[in-house]
């Protein structure tokens, strides 16, 4: 076969054990991450008296329910303590490594996997969490699965999947200063919609993507699921290889060289066909914020929120009214008039060292007008940030410096935005009640959150960057 193939085609073919007549493939899984929420699947195993097929390819991370404040080992809420203990017990029983509370490698699963070098180009990676798409930034095919499939992977190290369609978003040109990966991906979602990539593997390509750091690419692929994509992918390149070299679980020595040789062949061949192709010019992208209750409700910061009375499509008008009503925003308001109550910097989307540096660059020597929490993505990133003095910048600005976990992105560890309050957040979902019942979320980049903190309202970060190293 000499036909031109995409990155997805190559990774898929290397994992296909069998294909049924109906088109579903049985795939080998290279890495399986589990967390506190995976307990339904472990219960399924217990019911069947089954074992984990490949404990050495399964990794546990405590992230969804862990506290970020105070003495973290000391969980006061008994239900939350039970969730963390249940994970520890299930993993110990099956001989699976756990990056648990108190472990120097603990953090958010989608931060820890790449950081430890468990995530590698060309792998198939699954986890019972939709933001597993993040790992595709290194050239893996990584996707979220439900509890039934988690149980299946635990028992067989394989998964039944129909090959997704091939979609490519090419972002050419150069992004302006102050425009981050988060802005690029929000621009893409605003353009194609929250279901624009449904049923497809979404490959990001073009000069603006190549220019992104690995951290930026992780943010990009993290949000691929918010466009409905099965997975997000970026072809591995020299930047990827350099970033992975020396990571604790990555191959080393001659094995690493051999790996780089194989990884270098993964990129999509010139002329390989895509089912859907979308083009964007990075130069046209401004800092972006969301105003509504879906990530597709995103606009450049200098815009105004929609006015339902000007909408001719009745269904769309109703959608706009409902979203604005929930968000407590008057139709047609300028985005920069929206006053916030708090900020959150963290989550698997934007809690890596570069994200913290970008926020700190804006906050240095300035004060936040609102309370807020900064939660590093992993214990390792937290230590690095402290070595760089970033924690002092956040504390001096009046923000809280917390431990790593999913925290206020999903609110199940108790870090919530109180009902009716408005939060400028670096997270991935502005759904109703996502950060807590009645909470109102505006998604944006870490630098944009920092600028909102300084002014107390949504604002363009760019004027705050003049004379600063970003």
């Amino acid at each position: 076969m000499d036909e031109e193939r995409t990155l997805l085609d190559k990774v898929w073919a290397a994992h296909e054990i069998a294909r049924r007549e109906d088109g579903e493939s049985l795939l080998w899984v290279d890495r399986h991450f589990v967390h506190e929420g995976s307990f339904h699947a472990f219960s399924r195993l217990a019911e069947r008296g089954a074992n984990v097929a490949e404990p050495g390819l399964t990794f546990g991370v405590a992230d969804h329910y862990v506290p970020t404040r105070g003495v973290r080992r000391d969980i006061t809420n008994p239900e939350i303590a039970h969730m963390v203990r249940q994970l520890e017990e299930n993993l110990a029983k099956h001989g699976i490594v756990l990056f648990g509370l108190g472990d120097p490698r603990q953090g958010i699963v989608h931060v820890v996997g790449p950081e430890q070098g468990l995530t590698l180009p060309g792998l198939i990676i699954v986890c019972g969490d939709s933001h597993t798409s993040t790992h595709g930034a290194l050239g893996a095919c990584a996707f979220g699965i439900g509890a039934s499939q988690v149980a299946h992977v635990l028992m067989t190290q394989t998964i039944w999947q129909r090959k997704p369609g091939r979609m490519r978003v090419t972002v050419h040109g150069e992004a302006a200063v102050g425009v981050a990966a988060k802005d690029i991906v929000l621009a893409i979602i605003a353009r194609i919609g929250a279901d624009g990539a449904t049923g497809h593997a979404l490959e990001f390509a073009g000069s603006a993507i190549r220019d992104l750091s690995i951290e930026g690419r992780l943010t990009l692929c993290n949000m691929a699921i918010e466009a409905g994509a099965r997975c997000g992918m970026v072809a591995p390149d020299e930047k990827t290889f350099a970033w992975l070299k020396g990571r604790p679980c990555a191959p080393e020595g001659v094995e690493f060289e051999r790996a780089v040789e194989d990884w270098s062949a993964l990129a999509t061949d010139g002329g390989a066909p895509f089912d859907l192709d979308v083009y964007l010019d990075a130069a046209t992208i401004a800092p972006i914020v969301t105003w509504g209750t879906s990530p597709e409700d995103a606009l450049p910061i200098d815009a105004s929120v929609p006015d339902p009375t000007r909408e001719t499509d009745m269904a769309r008008a109703k959608y706009l009214r409902d979203a604005l009503d929930y968000m407590g925003i008057a139709p047609g308001s300028r985005l920069t008039e929206i006053v916030i109550d708090r900020v959150f910097i963290g989550s698997c989307t934007n809690s890596r060292i570069e994200d913290l540096r970008a926020a700190a660059a804006v906050l240095a020597g300035r004060t936040s007008k609102v309370p807020g929490l900064v939660s590093a993505g992993s214990a390792r990133i937290k230590r690095q940030a402290e070595e760089e003095g970033l924690d002092r910048i956040f504390r001096d600005a009046g923000l809280e410096w917390g431990g790593p976990g999913c925290s206020m992105c999903v609110g199940i560890n108790g870090d919530i935005v109180p009902p009716g309050e408005r939060c400028a957040s670096t997270t991935n979902r502005n759904f109703r009640g996502r950060q807590g019942p009645g909470a109102r979320t505006h998604l944006m980049s870490p630098a944009m959150v920092a600028a909102a903190a300084v002014t107390g309202h949504l604002t363009d970060v760019r004027p705050f960057l003049s004379g600063r190293k970003v």
Binding site: S43, A194, S294
Partner: protein, 210 residues
């Protein structure tokens, strides 16, 4: 898993785009074990007010739609989080089928693992079905997975579903039992793969390298 072939039942309209799994089951209920039953927490924050009382205006709280087994929803139904408990909540409430113009992929996959049919219709057909249900509350639909049709009074609409999910629902397959018959092929793949991709195995993580 039980098989799904055909369902005739009252259908409730939920005319909301991007009705995500955080709405279908708020995250604070994800700690519940499967045995607890999830019917009560389905769409909790939309069905119930802050004080825990029912919101009378919410469609599923109206007497005619209370026992609905079919939902006609908006675009991108079930997007967001991979939580399978969103499907447990629908199933435990009694919903066997959701009809919408598009679905979140992970949700649709989870539904097929729990005998819940996700039927994809065109925007125009969704709007027509929605209008019919609003005009005559309590109206029954018949959804036929073999024929891929939805009967609404005298009208018949076609629907689509991923053929793999259709087969799984029609047969009531248990994936784990199915995969057991591939044991030898899996073992052979694994042996070959170790030679083909020696770098793919993770280096030991049992020691702390920090």
């Amino acid at each position: 898993m039980e098989k799904f072939t055909r369902l005739t039942a009252t259908a409730c309209p939920l005319d909301v785009a991007n009705l995500n799994t955080d709405q279908l089951i708020p995250a604070r209920y994800l700690k519940l074990p499967r045995s607890a039953g999830f019917a009560k927490v389905l769409l909790y924050d939309l069905r119930f007010g802050d004080d825990g009382h029912e919101r009378p205006e919410f469609p599923l709280n109206r007497p005619t739609w209370r026992g609905a087994k079919i939902i006609v929803g908006g675009r991108n139904f079930g997007c967001g989080s991979s939580r399978e408990a969103a499907v447990y909540a629908l199933r435990d409430y009694g919903i066997g089928c959701v009809i919408a113009p598009s679905f979140g992929d992970i949700f649709a996959g989870n539904a097929a693992q729990n005998a819940v049919l996700t039927a994809i219709v065109s925007d125009a057909d969704a709007a027509e079905l929605m209008a019919a249900l609003v005009a005559k509350p309590g109206l029954e639909l018949t959804v036929d997975l073999e024929q891929l049709t939805i009967e609404c009074r005298s009208r018949t609409f076609g629907f689509a579903i991923d053929p793999v999910r259709r087969t799984r629902l029609l047969n009531g397959w248990d994936d784990i039992a199915l995969t057991a018959s591939y044991r030898d092929r899996i073992a052979a793949f694994k042996a070959d793969d170790r030679i083909r991709r020696p770098w793919a195995a993770p280096r030991s993580v049992h020691e702390d390298r920090e």
